[in-house]
Amino acid sequence: MLERDDDFSQCVEECEIAVIVNGHRYERTVPVRLLLSDFLRHDLQLTGTHVGCEHGVCGCCTVLFNGEAVRSCLMLAVQADGMAVTTIEGMAGTNSELHPIQQAFQEKHGLQCGFCTPGIIMSVHAMLHEHPDPTEKEIRHELSGNICRCTGYQNIVEAVKLAAERLREQHMEVE
C-alpha cells in the first residue's frame, strides 16, 4: 500500500490520484465525483469489473480494496488514492493461467452469461481467504451479496467448494 501523499484538506472538484491496481501503479487526474467502478472501466480500461445496479445491491462491481471485498460503485475513485485495488484482471497468473477459483468455475459450469462472475470471483476470493473451509451454508450466506440473473446458483456453490478444496491443497503443499 502506498502512503497517501495528496492532501485533500482543501475543497476540490478534480484531483490527482495514484492507485495500485493489480500491482501496477496508475496516476490519473479525476473528477471527485467519479466512481471507483467507472474509474476502473473508463480511465484504466479494466472492463472486467462489471456494473449492474450502481447502488450496491447486485454485487457485480465487487473488487478487493486493500484485500477486502467492497462495492466499487459505492466508492469514489478519489477514495482509492494511495490504496491497493484488485480486480478480476489481477486474478490470473503471469502466463494467463487461470486462478484456481476461475478454474473451478470453468470446470463446474459456475457461470452462464458471465455478467455477475467477476464480482462473484472477487467475493469468493475474499471469503476463502478468511474461511478456507466453509460449509455449504456459509458459502451461500457469503455469496448472498452477489446476484446471478441466470440463477445458476447450484453450480456456483459447487465451484466454490472445489476452489476451496484446491486452495487448501495448494496451501498445504506450500507449507
Binding site: 475543497c11 476540490v12 472538484e13 471527485v32 450496491g56 467475493s123
Partner: protein, 301 residues
C-alpha cells in the same frame, strides 16, 4: 457520471472537518462508509454542494470500553466490530445485530455511526441503540452534546442533528449481568432491508420473574420504536405463554398506520411484529435461563 457535481475534501483532523461543517451548514454532507450515502448520490436523490470525507480522520477510528457502555468512533467499520474479539466477548448482542446488516461487502465499508446518522427506520443499528437506551455524541466547533437514542431519531431519515454538527461516537450500553438478549428480523431476501425486526433485552429478578424489559423494533414506523407499553406488561411475569401472547397483541399497535408499501401491507407488518415479538422474547428469556443453569452447575461442581 452518476453523482452530481460537488466539492470534495478529506481532512485528517476532526477540527478541520468541523470547521468545514460550520462554514457550509446545510450545503455539506459527511461521507463515512458511504454505503447508504453513495447510492443516494448515484440516484441523485442527494446533491450536496460539498462533501467532507471523514475516512482519514484516524482519531475517529476506535472501539473503546467505557464505564457503562461501548464507545464506537465515527469511522469504525461494521466488519471491524463483527470481527473484534473484545466486542464478541463484551457485547455479543451488537455483533449479532451487525451480522444481519446487508452483506459482507457492505459491512466491510459501512460504519456503525454512519448507519445511525442515516437513520433509516428499517436499519438494524438505530433499533438496537433505541432498545438499549443508548446515546450518541454530536460535535461541532462550538462544542459537543450527548443525545439519547429516542430523542435523536425524529422521523424518516431525520435526526436531531443540527447543521454544523457531526456524529462522532455511538454509545451502546452494556447488557446487564444475567440478562438474556435476542435480535431477529424478517427480510424477503438475505441481506435486504428487513420488513420488521426486533431487539430485546430481559433482566431477571432473584425470584426469576422479569425485573426489567427492553424491546425495540425496526420497520414499524418512520423511526425505530421502543415499545414501553409492551415492556411494562412483561415486568413481573415469568414470560409464560400468556405473557407472550399479551405482549404480541400489544405490539401490533406499534405499527404505524402508514406502513403499507409495495413490500408489505400494514396488516402483514402487524402480523410479523406480533410473531417476532413472541419469538424474540422467548429467545431472550431462554438465553437468561441457560446462563443461570450454568452458574448452578458451576456451583454444584
Amino acid at each position: 457520471m452518476k453523482p452530481p457535481r460537488f466539492q470534495y475534501c478529506a481532512p485528517r483532523i476532526l477540527d478541520e472537518a468541523l470547521t468545514l461543517l460550520d462554514q457550509h451548514g446545510e450545503d455539506i454532507k459527511v461521507l463515512a462508509g458511504g454505503q447508504s450515502f453513495v447510492p443516494l448520490l448515484n440516484m441523485r436523490l442527494a446533491g450536496p454542494a460539498y462533501i467532507v470525507d471523514i475516512n482519514h480522520i484516524s482519531e475517529l477510528h476506535y472501539i473503546e470500553t467505557e464505564d457503562g457502555y461501548l464507545a464506537i468512533g465515527a469511522i469504525a467499520r461494521q466488519r471491524q466490530i463483527e470481527r473484534s474479539v473484545l466486542v464478541q466477548e463484551k457485547h455479543p448482542l451488537l455483533v449479532e445485530v451487525i451480522k444481519h446488516i446487508g452483506h459482507m461487502q457492505i459491512r466491510n465499508r459501512g460504519t456503525v455511526v454512519g448507519s445511525i446518522a442515516h437513520a433509516d427506520p428499517a436499519a438494524e443499528l438505530p433499533a438496537l441503540l433505541t432498545c438499549l437506551n443508548g446515546e450518541v455524541l454530536a460535535q461541532s466547533i462550538h462544542g459537543e452534546r450527548v443525545i439519547k437514542a429516542e430523542e435523536f431519531f425524529t422521523g424518516y431519515l431525520t435526526t436531531a442533528l443540527e447543521p454544523g454538527e457531526m456524529l462522532t461516537e455511538a454509545r451502546f450500553p452494556w447488557i446487564p449481568p444475567r440478562a438474556g438478549w435476542s435480535f431477529m428480523e424478517f427480510a424477503r431476501r438475505a441481506g435486504d432491508y428487513a420488513l420488521v425486526g426486533a431487539a430485546a433485552v430481559l433482566t431477571p429478578a432473584p425470584d426469576d420473574t422479569c425485573m426489567s424489559a427492553h424491546i425495540a423494533y425496526l420497520g414499524v414506523a418512520g423511526s425505530p420504536i421502543r415499545a414501553h407499553a409492551v415492556e411494562q406488561m412483561l415486568v413481573g411475569t415469568t414470560l409464560d405463554q400468556r405473557a407472550l401472547d399479551a405482549a404480541a397483541e400489544a405490539a401490533r399497535e406499534i405499527v404505524s398506520e402508514d406502513m403499507s408499501d409495495v413490500h408489505a401491507t400494514v396488516e402483514y407488518r402487524r402480523t410479523l411484529t406480533a410473531e417476532l415479538t413472541k419469538r424474540v422474547l422467548k429467545a431472550a428469556w431462554g438465553r437468561r435461563e441457560r446462563q443461570e443453569r450454568q452458574e448452578q452447575q458451576r456451583g454444584e461442581g
